[in-house]
C-alpha cells in the first residue's frame, strides 16, 4: 500500500501524451472573442493620446483603456506600483497601454496595430549600476526597491584576500505553452477566469482590486510549464482578458504569441555580485563580503524577495565565521524581472562557485579540497546565524565523485561538426537551496489544504497547481501512504478558487515539502474524524470505513503549522532563514571547439539531497530538466536588447535554449537525508537543480581552455573573445 518511493503512473501523463489534455487555447466557448494588447514602444514616455485609426473598421472591435477599469488600476502583489494599463506614463517598452478584442485572432492583431499611441519622450534610465544616484526617478527617490544588509562581522585583516566581480544575465523561463487566459462572463453576473498559471490565489487577490468585487473564480487549465514565469505575470494577463470580457459582455481569450511573450514577460533578474573573501593560506575561509546589485526592471513585482533569497545564498554551502552582505535591488526603465526557478539563488551561487575556483586557483589548492575544507555540516551556522540540521553537503559531494568515476559514454560526433580539435574539461560545483518561503513567510501565509471522503474514495483540495512537476501525482501518494490505501483511490479536486482553499503559491520549492505536509496532516485528521465518528480506535482505514454508517461526505481541513524548531527574526535578519536546505553536487564533463567557442556537454553527474524521493522518476526528471535549463543559461541563452530595452531575439530560432540533442548524458543520484517536518521526510527540490550546473560548466571550460570566465552567458562569441584576449595577454 505504501506508494511513497514508487514511480506510480503520473495522473496527467496519458492525457498529455495522447493530446487529450485541454489547455486554455483549446477552449472555445460560444461567442468567444480574441484579445490583443497594444504596447508601449518607448522605455519612458508620457502618453499624449491613444487614437483609433479612422480608416479601420472598428464596429466589431472592443477597445479597453485605463478609463475602463472598474476598480483600481493596479496589479496587486507586494506594492501597488504596477498598473494594469498605462495611465499617463509608460515606464518600459512593451508595457500594456490598451486592449482590443475581436471575433478572430487575426482581426484582433490587426486592430491592435491600428491603435496609435502618441508619446512625449521622457529621460530614460537603463543601467542598474547608475540607478541609485540617477536624477531620473522610477521608484521612490532613489530607485531602490529593497536594500538588505546582513552584518555578522567584517574582515579580520589576517588572511589572504581575494576579490572579484561576477555578472549574471537575463534569462527567459521558456515554458512550452505561452501565457494564456480566458475570461467568461457568466449569466449570474459573475466571471470565470481560466488559464495557464501557477498561483490561482495571486490572480484572485489581484483581480479583486481591479474589479472592486470578488464575484469571480479562478481555475487552472492544464498548464504547459511555468518555472516562475507563471507566478505573478498571469495576474496581468487575467486582468486584461477580464476587462475585455466585461466591456464586450463576451468570453475573451488572451493567448500570447511567442514573440510577444518573450518581449513582454518577466525574466530572471540580472545581478552584479562583488565578493571579497579572506582565508588562511591553507584555504580555510575567514570572512566574506558580498556587494550585490540586482536589476528589477520598472516595477517592484517580486524583486525584494528575489533579492532576499539571493543574499541568503551568496555564501554558498560554506562555513564562514564573519560575513558582511549588502544587496540592493534597483529600478530601471526595462520590462520588470520576476520569478524564475531558483529566484536569486542561481545568481548568487554562480558568483560563489566562481569565487571558490578563484581562491583555489590563486592559492594553488585543488578546488575540490578547498570545498571539502569549508563545506557546511550539521551544527554549523548559516550567514544569519541559524543552526544547520539534516545537512548533506558531504554526502552529495562524495556520491557525485563516485558516480563520476565511470567512463564517459562514447557518442557519435554530431553531424556537420566537421573536423574539430575538441578540448575536454571537467568541473565541479556545489549548491544548497533553502526550501520553502524565506523567513516567516510560511507562518504569515498559513497555507491550507482539505481532504474529502466521498463514498470510499478521497479527494484532495489544494490551491497548489500541477504545472508539469507532478503535484497532482504525489499529493495522492502522500494521502494514500498515510492511510494505507491504493493511490488510485485518491484524486485531486480541480484547482479552482471556488472549490479549493488557498494553499499559498506554487513556488519556492515549497509545494511538496510544505503543502505536502499539510495534505498529510489532512489525512491524519481524517483518520481521527473517522475514529470519532465510528467510535473505533483502529488505525486501519478499511476497518474505519467499514464501520461507518453514514454516506455523508466527510471533509477535513488543515492549516500549515510552522516547524516549532525554527526561529527567525525578520527585524535583524537573524536565525533560521529556511526550515531546511536541499544540497547538490554537480560534475560537468564537456568539450569545446577552440575554433568556434562552441561547448558540447558530455555528461552531467548530479547528486541531490531531496530528503525523501516521494516519486523517484518525477524528482529525477525535475532535477534533469532544471539542470539542462542551467546549462542553457551557462552557454546559450542571451537576451539581446535594442536601445529602448526591448528584446530583439524574440523567437525560438534566435533565443537559443538547448534541444534534446544538446543535452548531455545525465547521471542523477538521489540522496535522502530526511527533514522531520516534511511529508515522509521530503525536502523541497524544485529550484535546487538550477543553482550549480552553470558554475560547474565554467570550471570545466576553465580546465579545457585555461580560460577564466566570470560572467554569464558563456556564449561561443564570448568564449572566442576571451581566447583572443588570453592569447594577447
Amino acid at each position: 500500500m505504501m506508494s511513497i518511493g514508487k514511480a506510480v503512473v503520473r495522473t496527467d501523463g496519458r492525457a498529455k501524451v495522447t493530446g487529450q489534455a485541454i489547455y486554455v487555447d483549446d477552449l472555445r466557448p460560444e461567442g468567444c472573442l480574441y484579445g490583443a494588447t497594444v504596447r508601449s514602444e518607448r522605455a519612458h514616455a508620457r502618453i499624449l493620446g491613444i487614437d483609433l485609426d479612422p480608416s479601420f473598421d472598428w464596429t466589431d472591435i472592443t477597445v479597453v483603456t485605463a478609463e475602463d477599469i472598474p476598480g483600481e488600476n493596479v496589479v496587486a502583489l507586494m506594492t501597488d506600483d504596477q498598473p494594469v494599463l498605462v495611465d499617463g506614463e509608460c515606464r518600459h517598452v512593451m508595457e500594456a497601454v490598451a486592449l482590443v478584442a475581436a471575433p478572430t485572432r487575426e482581426r484582433a492583431l490587426q486592430a491592435a496595430h491600428r491603435v496609435q499611441v502618441r508619446y512625449e519622450e521622457l529621460p530614460v534610465l537603463l543601467d542598474p549600476a547608475q540607478a541609485e544616484n540617477s536624477p531620473i526617478h522610477i521608484f521612490g527617490t532613489d530607485n531602490v526597491f529593497k536594500r538588505l544588509v546582513i552584518d555578522r562581522g567584517t574582515s579580520t585583516g589576517m588572511g589572504v584576500v581575494h576579490k572579484a566581480t561576477y555578472h549574471t544575465s537575463l534569462a527567459e523561463q521558456l515554458y512550452i505553452e505561452p501565457q494564456g487566459m480566458l475570461a467568461i462572463p457568466e449569466k449570474d453576473g459573475s466571471l470565470t477566469i481560466i488559464g495557464s498559471l501557477q498561483c490561482p490565489y495571486y490572480i484572485h487577490k489581484a483581480l479583486k482590486r481591479v474589479l472592486g468585487h470578488s464575484r469571480f473564480h479562478v481555475v487552472q487549465a492544464v498548464t504547459g510549464g511555468g518555472f516562475g514565469g507563471k507566478e505573478e505575470f498571469p495576474s496581468m494577463v487575467a486582468a486584461h482578458a477580464t476587462l475585455l470580457a466585461i466591456k464586450s459582455g463576451r468570453p475573451v481569450k488572451m493567448i500570447y504569441r511567442r514573440d510577444e511573450d518573450l518581449r513582454a514577460s518577466t525574466k530572471r533578474h540580472p545581478a552584479i555580485i562583488q565578493i571579497t573573501s579572506e582565508c588562511t593560506p591553507e584555504g580555510e575561509l575567514l570572512s566574506w563580503d558580498a556587494r550585490i546589485i540586482v536589476d528589477g526592471g520598472a516595477y517592484n513585482t517580486l524583486t525584494p524577495v528575489v533579492l532576499s533569497r539571493l543574499v541568503l545564498h551568496v555564501t554558498g554551502p560554506y562555513r564562514i565565521p564573519k560575513v558582511h552582505l549588502e544587496g540592493v535591488a534597483v529600478a530601471t526603465h526595462t520590462p520588470p524581472n520576476g520569478a524564475y526557478r531558483g529566484f536569486g539563488a542561481p545568481q548568487a551561487q554562480w558568483a560563489v562557485e566562481r569565487h571558490m575556483d578563484r581562491i583555489a586557483r590563486e592559492l594553488g589548492i585543488d578546488p575540490l579540497e578547498l570545498r571539502r575544507k569549508n563545506l557546511l555540516k550539521d551544527g554549523d551556522l548559516t550567514a544569519t546565524g541559524g543552526v544547520l540540521h539534516d545537512t548533506a553537503a558531504f554526502l552529495v559531494l562524495e556520491e557525485a565523485l563516485e558516480a563520476a568515476r565511470a567512463p564517459l559514454l562514447q557518442r557519435a560526433p554530431p553531424p556537420g561538426a566537421g573536423i574539430a580539435h575538441w578540448k575536454r574539461g571537467r568541473g565541479l560545483a556545489l549548491a544548497f537551496h533553502g526550501c520553502g518561503f524565506t523567513g516567516n513567510g510560511e507562518s504569515w501565509l498559513k497555507g491550507k489544504a482539505a481532504l474529502e471522503l466521498v463514498g470510499s474514495d478521497l479527494r484532495i483540495l489544494t490551491g497548489s497547481t500541477d504545472i508539469g512537476q507532478g503535484t497532482d501525482t504525489i499529493f495522492p501518494q502522500i494521502v494514500a501512504s498515510e492511510l494505507g490505501i491504493p493511490v488510485e483511490r485518491v484524486s485531486m479536486a480541480p484547482h479552482d478558487t471556488a472549490q479549493v482553499p488557498d494553499s499559498g503559491p506554487t513556488v519556492a520549492s515549497r509545494t511538496t515539502m510544505v503543502v505536502g505536509s499539510v495534505v498529510q496532516s489532512c489525512a491524519k485528521k481524517l483518520r481521527l474524524a473517522l475514529q470519532a465518528e465510528t467510535g473505533l480506535a483502529s488505525n486501519n482505514f478499511a476497518e474505519l470505513l467499514a464501520a461507518r454508517n453514514s454516506d455523508a461526505v466527510l471533509k477535513v481541513e488543515h492549516v500549515y503549522e510552522p516547524d516549532a524548531s525554527i526561529r527567525w527574526n525578520d527585524a535583524d535578519y537573524s536565525g533560521d532563514a529556511y526550515p531546511t536546505y536541499g544540497w547538490s553536487a554537480n560534475i560537468v564533463d564537456l568539450e569545446v571547439d577552440p575554433d568556434t567557442g562552441e561547448i558540447r556537454y558530455l555528461r552531467l553527474v548530479t547528486a541531490t539531497d531531496v530528503g525523501r524521493a516521494i516519486h523517484p522518476v518525477l524528482v529525477s526528471g525535475q532535477i534533469e530538466g532544471g539542470a539542462l535549463q542551467a546549462l542553457g543559461w551557462a552557454n546559450l541563452e542571451e537576451v539581446v536588447r535594442d536601445q529602448h530595452g526591448c528584446m530583439r531575439n524574440d523567437r525560438l530560432t534566435n533565443y537559443i535554449i538547448p534541444t534534446s540533442l544538446d543535452a548531455p548524458e545525465m547521471v542523477t543520484r538521489l540522496i535522502e537525508v530526511p527533514y522531520a517536518a516534511g511529508p515522509f521526510g521530503a525536502k523541497g527540490v524544485g529550484e535546487l537543480p538550477l543553482d550549480a550546473p552553470a558554475a560547474a560548466a565554467a570550471a570545466a571550460l576553465e580546465q579545457a581552455l585555461g580560460l577564466v570566465l566570470d560572467d554569464l552567458p558563456m556564449t561561443p562569441e564570448r568564449v572566442l573573445l576571451a581566447m583572443e584576449r588570453g592569447h594577447a595577454a
Binding site: G416, G418, D595, T596, E598, R648, T653, I656, L661, L720
Partner: protein, 274 residues
C-alpha cells in the same frame, strides 16, 4: 500571421507548374513550407498568391549515381541516400530537426537564398549546376552564378528550379556548420569546401562560406593563393578578403570572421600529407 486569404494554385505536373508560374509570376513558390510558414507567422511575407509545388510530379528523386537531385527532394531523403557525398548527407542531417527535414526541400533551400542557408556553400564547393525551366525552355546555371544578392537569385519570374546536378568529383567535399546548438540551429557560419590534391600539390580548390555576406560566396583570394602549391593552413586569413560579415541578433561580425578563418585553418591543416 498564419491565416492568409491569398489564392493557392497547386501544380500536379511540371507542365502545370510551368504554366501556373507563367500565369502568376507574383505567386510565392511553396514547397515544404518550412521557410514560407515561418515568414507568414512573423508577418514578414506579403504573398498575393501561392504556387504550391508540394507533390508535383517530375521534381522528385535522386538518380542512382547521386549526380542528379530533384528540387523537391527533402533533407530526409538526402541524408539516407548512399550515393551522395558524405558531406552533403551530413549537411542534410544538420537542417532544422527531424520534422523540418521531412518537409524542407533542397530546391526550397536554394531558391529561398537565405545567406545562412545550410546547404548553399556546399553547392558552390561542389561546382553544382542548377537546372531552371520555364515555358520558354530549360537552362543550366552554375551555383556560383546563381546567388546574385541578398535573397536574389538568377531565377526569372517565370522559372522554376527543377534539379541540381553534381559533377564527377576526383577530390573530397567537406562541410562544417557552426550553429551553436545541435538541432533547430540557424548557421552563424557555414563552410562548404572541395579539394583535389596530387602529390602534395593542390590541383583544384573551391572554398565557399555562408552567413558571412549577403550571399553564399567563394573565397577566391584563398583559392588562388593555394592552387598549384602545397596546402598552407597559415593562409586561412586570406578569407577576410572575400567575406563581409555583419553584426546581427544571432552573432557578431567579429565572431563570424574569426570562426571562418579558424575553421578553414583547421580544415586545411587536416589536408596536409593527403
Amino acid at each position: 500571421m498564419l491565416a492568409s486569404n491569398a489564392p493557392v494554385y497547386t501544380a500536379k505536373t511540371l507542365a502545370q507548374a510551368l504554366q501556373l508560374r507563367a500565369d502568376h509570376p507574383e505567386a510565392v513558390l511553396l514547397a515544404g513550407g518550412t521557410d514560407v510558414m515561418v515568414f507568414l507567422e512573423a508577418d514578414r511575407l506579403e504573398a498575393p498568391a501561392f504556387l504550391n509545388l508540394w507533390g508535383c510530379e517530375g521534381l522528385h528523386g535522386i538518380s542512382e549515381d547521386g549526380r542528379k537531385i530533384g528540387a523537391l527532394c527533402t533533407w530526409a531523403e538526402l541524408k539516407e541516400h548512399p550515393a551522395l557525398p558524405m558531406a552533403l548527407r551530413a549537411c542534410a542531417r544538420t537542417v532544422g530537426a527531424a520534422q523540418i527535414q521531412a518537409r524542407g526541400t533542397v530546391g526550397g533551400n536554394i531558391a529561398n537564398a537565405s545567406p545562412a542557408g545550410d546547404s548553399l556553400p556546399l553547392w558552390l564547393a561542389a561546382d553544382a549546376r542548377f537546372t531552371l525551366q520555364s515555358l520558354r525552355g530549360r537552362r543550366e546555371v552554375a551555383a556560383s552564378d546563381f546567388f546574385l544578392g541578398y535573397r536574389k537569385t538568377a531565377l526569372a519570374a517565370d522559372e522554376i528550379l527543377v534539379d541540381i546536378q553534381l559533377p564527377v568529383q576526383k577530390g573530397e567535399l567537406y562541410y562544417k556548420k557552426v550553429g551553436t546548438r545541435l538541432a533547430q540551429a540557424i548557421s552563424k557560419v557555414v563552410l562548404g569546401a572541395y579539394v583535389h590534391q596530387e602529390g602534395g600539390v593542390v590541383r583544384e580548390l573551391r572554398v565557399a562560406l555562408g552567413a558571412v555576406a549577403p550571399v553564399p560566396l567563394r573565397c577566391r583570394a584563398l583559392e588562388e593563393a593555394l592552387v598549384g602549391g602545397p596546402v598552407r593552413p597559415e593562409l586561412a586569413a586570406l578569407v577576410h578578403q572575400d567575406i563581409r560579415p555583419i553584426d546581427d541578433v544571432r552573432s557578431s561580425a567579429h565572431y563570424r570572421a574569426k570562426v571562418a578563418e579558424n575553421i578553414l585553418r583547421t580544415w586545411l591543416g587536416s589536408l596536409r600529407g593527403c
